[in-house]
């Protein structure tokens, strides 16, 4: 196996993976609009930056990259690289690597891809659902990687199908001209409209069953009552 670099209309240059010092193959690829060249994520883990026929930089788990298969790589508008791995979402910028995992508030660790929407949020397709994180949360985490983030999880009760592994070809997610994200759960294609999210804003009705203060049960003094949620 090898990867091919297209040179114009008909020429292509074949580069075997072994020449990049790998015994496996790339499982993901992204161009880098800011610096030129391409980023390659590998099946057995690790990342390489390739430009002008040479590997210019590599990153491994020991450098802070997430563990396992690198499922997706994507450069954002600020030039940061987002790396979806089985062991979390890694961010690479200016040679610095940090990885967001369940320890920082993700609902699980395995990330299939991450994309930014047109409404200042990131979407992570994970083995445990589709996860929304506000850009400001990620920016704060990028400054202090020990920080926890707040994530909103969309799961099977929202219609999200979450396979443990995503396969197939590329791309596996697309942002359409109307700002929706189309993505592949294996069977069919799923769609989320980040600009029109259906949140359930109905508060549940409040029902007081018991009142106590420093021990004694005061329910006999204050009769338990139901109050409508909107009062």
């Amino acid at each position: 196996m090898a990867f091919f670099i297209w040179l114009g209309e008909t020429l292509s240059k074949r580069t075997p993976w072994a020449t990049l010092g790998r015994t496996d193959f790339a499982s993901s690829l992204s161009t880098d609009p800011a610096q030129g060249g391409v980023w390659l994520g590998f099946y057995q883990g690790g990342l390489a930056y390739f430009r002008d026929g040479q590997v210019r930089a590599t990153y491994k788990v020991a450098d802070g990259l997430g563990k396992g298969i690198v499922v997706d790589v994507q450069v954002d508008k600020d030039g940061a690289l987002w790396v979806a791995t089985e062991g979390g979402l890694s961010r690479v910028k200016s040679g610095r690597v940090s990885t967001l995992t369940s320890k920082n508030g993700l609902p699980c660790d395995s990330v299939h891809w991450a994309r930014e929407d047109n409404d200042q949020s990131f979407w992570l397709y994970m083995a445990c659902g589709l996860v929304r994180i506000e850009r400001t949360q990620l920016d704060a985490w990028a400054v202090d990687p020990k920080r926890s983030i707040r994530a909103t999880v969309f799961d099977s009760s929202d219609g999200v199908r979450s396979p443990a592994v995503v396969g197939g070809h590329s791309p596996r997610v697309a942002k359409t001209t109307d700002g929706k994200l189309w993505f592949l759960p294996g069977d069919g294609v799923s769609i989320i409209d980040p600009h029109h999210l259906a949140f359930n804003n109905c508060l549940p009705r409040l029902h007081v069953e018991q009142i106590s203060a420093r021990g004694p049960d005061l329910s006999g003094v204050f009769a338990p009552a139901s109050a409508p949620a909107d009062s």
Partner: protein, 199 residues
């Protein structure tokens, strides 16, 4: 006597037209929900849902608990509850809907998705290349593929046979000239001006 729905309008009654069905049914319950769509419970055919000029028929064979509808109820969160002779079902809009063969795709397995600059979405499936635009689906088949037989009311799906697309389409890419490239196991083609060209 065959059943149906009659509408009372301006002091007169007439037959309420149900889109695209010739089914005979015995209605038992009616519910107009918060979106203005109409739910019709029947005694023998399950549940009819009329919304936006479309009719969905939901029966036990589609996963409904029973075909005899006893009650319909909308709660304050907008869920529609349906009690049948054999259980209780809840309907609500998913934040994340999924489109598959039932909605017109050529195959369930979709390997890649590409958003094109003209607003269309390309889906590479195990049974042809699908181009979605404004709710219309065009399916480009290879020489060997046969289109699925689908109900006549699926007028939003169009099949193009022997389109020149390779079998078992793989990865997709749009270049700076707007061409859609299809990278398949059996070769590389691109789509431009309504046709595929092999490279």
């Amino acid at each position: 006597m065959p059943g149906g729905i009659r509408r009372f309008l301006d002091g007169k009654t007439d037959t309420y037209p149900l889109p695209a069905t010739r089914l005979q049914f015995k209605p038992t319950r009616l519910l107009r929900d918060h979106d203005g769509s109409l739910w019709i419970g029947t005694q023998d055919r399950g549940l009819f849902h009329v919304h936006g000029g479309r009719l969905d028929v939901l029966a036990q064979s589609d996963g409904l608990s029973g075909d005899d509808i006893l009650e319909l109820f909308e709660d304050r969160e907008g869920n529609i509850w349906v009690s049948t002779n054999d259980g209780l079902d809840r309907f609500r809009d998913f934040a994340v809907p999924t489109i598959s063969v039932k909605q017109g795709l050529s195959a369930a397995f979709v390997g890649s998705v590409l958003s094109a600059k003209d607003g269309s979405v390309w889906l590479s499936t195990s049974g042809g290349l699908n181009r979605w635009k404004n709710g219309q689906i065009t399916i480009y088949h290879s020489r060997r593929e046969r289109p699925l037989t689908r109900p006549a009311e699926r007028s939003e799906v169009h099949d193009v046979t022997d389109s020149g697309v390779p079998e078992a389409g793989g990865s997709l890419f749009q270049d700076g000239r707007g061409r859609i490239w299809v990278f398949a196991y059996r070769g590389v083609t691109y789509f431009e001006n309504g046709r595929f060209t092999s490279r």
